[in-house]
């Protein structure tokens, strides 16, 4: 059974608490991987060696992306 949006929303709240001290965390949101809703964890830069993000929060998959610095667009 695909991961539902509601399960992803619940997992997002857990992830925000779990990852709050992650260096360079730029946001936690919801995305899709195939039919599954998933979590998207954005980082300013690659994580230091030895620091990792879980591949799943519960049964919700997590994808990590380095998005750099975000600025207002003007």
């Amino acid at each position: 059974m695909p991961v539902s949006l509601e399960r992803a929303r619940d997992a997002k709240e857990s992830a925000k608490a779990l990852l709050s001290t992650l260096p360079g965390l730029m946001g936690v949101g919801i995305t899709k991987i195939g039919e599954d809703y998933a979590l998207k964890v954005n980082l300013r830069q690659a994580l230091p060696s030895g620091v990792t993000v879980p591949e799943r929060i519960g049964d919700v998959p997590v994808c990590v992306e380095v998005v750099g610095t975000i600025r207002k667009r003007s």
Binding site: R9, M26, K40, V67, G68, T69, I70, R73
Partner: protein, 334 residues
């Protein structure tokens, strides 16, 4: 010919020819290599300019660029050809003008969605994007919708402060191009989580506006009633990159940290978009752009972005859901 030889020849020609031909100053790039220089300093016609043209590696020719067709079969060309011993590249290029600014960085009357707009700043010039037009309450008055940081200078611009189109970065006149006055904005707060970056400015009396046209995309059809989700195709037209197409890569993003003049601000419930093809979805100056879905329904207000990430590596863009923006300002689409 060696590069030094061409340079030497080029230096010698204007002086030599100025006695024979009437020329006027003209500067610009040649079609290939090197920077051209003024052929002469006298303001007379007809004109030409000289440069260096590359034929291959370490093989150079004198470049003669003509701004008048009458010169093509003239003694000027023949004398240059003789001096260069045939090692010459002659082309008619016509008058050289600075490239015209695209419509979205130019003055637009009636006002157009997607065009340059901004506040009047002391000591610097700026521009963002006119998002769309809205109405407040039961009044028929029209307002421009854009970002707080485009219309209200991150909370610092006074109420009733003048808004100009185009923005001063695009040579908008502080007096002649006033089109609206700042009415209200949602405060940006570095100490708390933000949801939107938005403001409205009331159009000046008799200022005409094309309310629904997104030039290059289509006609605004209304407000999207459901949230954008991953995979949704979206479009925008903005002051810097014009029309761009993209795809939602994430939604309900919390803790999005954005650099402002005020400091680092955090936003919840944001939409993330990547550009389609090999392009970004936005760049600096596109702030305030209205984002529409594939059915031309208003869906989001663009406000931030970066240069990294996205499946094409061109960066990601962030936008406030349009429903949150309209609700926070208590306005409706015009």
């Amino acid at each position: 010919m060696k590069l030094d030889s061409v340079r030497e020849l080029k230096q010698s020609l204007p002086v030599h020819l100025s006695k024979t031909f009437a020329v006027r100053a003209a500067a610009g790039r040649t079609a290939s290599l090197a920077v051209s220089r003024a052929a002469a300093l006298e303001r007379v016609t007809p004109s030409y300019f000289l440069g260096v043209s590359a034929r291959g590696k370490k093989d150079y020719r004198l470049a003669l660029r003509l701004q008048d067709r009458a010169l093509e079969k003239s003694e000027l060309v023949e004398q240059c050809r003789a001096k260069a011993k045939g090692e010459i590249d002659v082309r008619y290029v016509g008058r050289v003008r600075a490239a015209a600014a695209p419509w979205y960085r130019s003055r637009q009357r009636p006002l157009l969605i997607g065009s340059s707009i901004g506040f009047l700043a002391n000591g610097f010039v700026m521009a963002g994007t006119l998002g769309c037009f809205v109405r407040s309450g039961r009044s028929s008055a029209l307002y421009i919708l854009s970002n707080n940081h485009v219309l209200a200078d991150e909370n610092r611009y006074p109420k009733r402060g003048h808004i100009v189109q185009p923005g001063t970065l695009d040579r908008g006149s502080p007096s002649a191009d006033r089109v609206a006055e700042l009415t209200r904005f949602v405060r940006l707060d570095p100490a708390q989580t933000n949801l939107v970056d938005c403001a409205i400015a009331k159009l000046n009396p008799a200022m005409a506006a094309d309310l629904h046209k997104l030039k290059g995309i289509g006609t605004l059809a209304g407000q999207r009633r459901t949230d954008l989700e991953t995979g949704a195709v979206v479009h925008k037209v903005g002051r810097t990159t014009g029309v761009r197409h993209g795809r939602v890569t994430a939604f309900e993003l919390d803790g999005v940290t954005v650099e402002y003049d005020l400091g680092i601000l955090t936003f919840d419930n944001q939409i993330e978009i990547e550009g389609s093809g090999q392009r970004s979805f936005s760049d600096a100056g596109d702030s305030g752009s209205l984002i529409v879905d594939d059915d031309m329904m208003a869906s989001a207000l663009l406000f931030a972005g970066g240069d990294h990430g996205g499946s094409n590596g061109k960066g990601v863009t962030y936008a406030n859901p349009i429903a949150a923006v309209l609700q926070a300002l208590a306005v409706k689409l015009a």
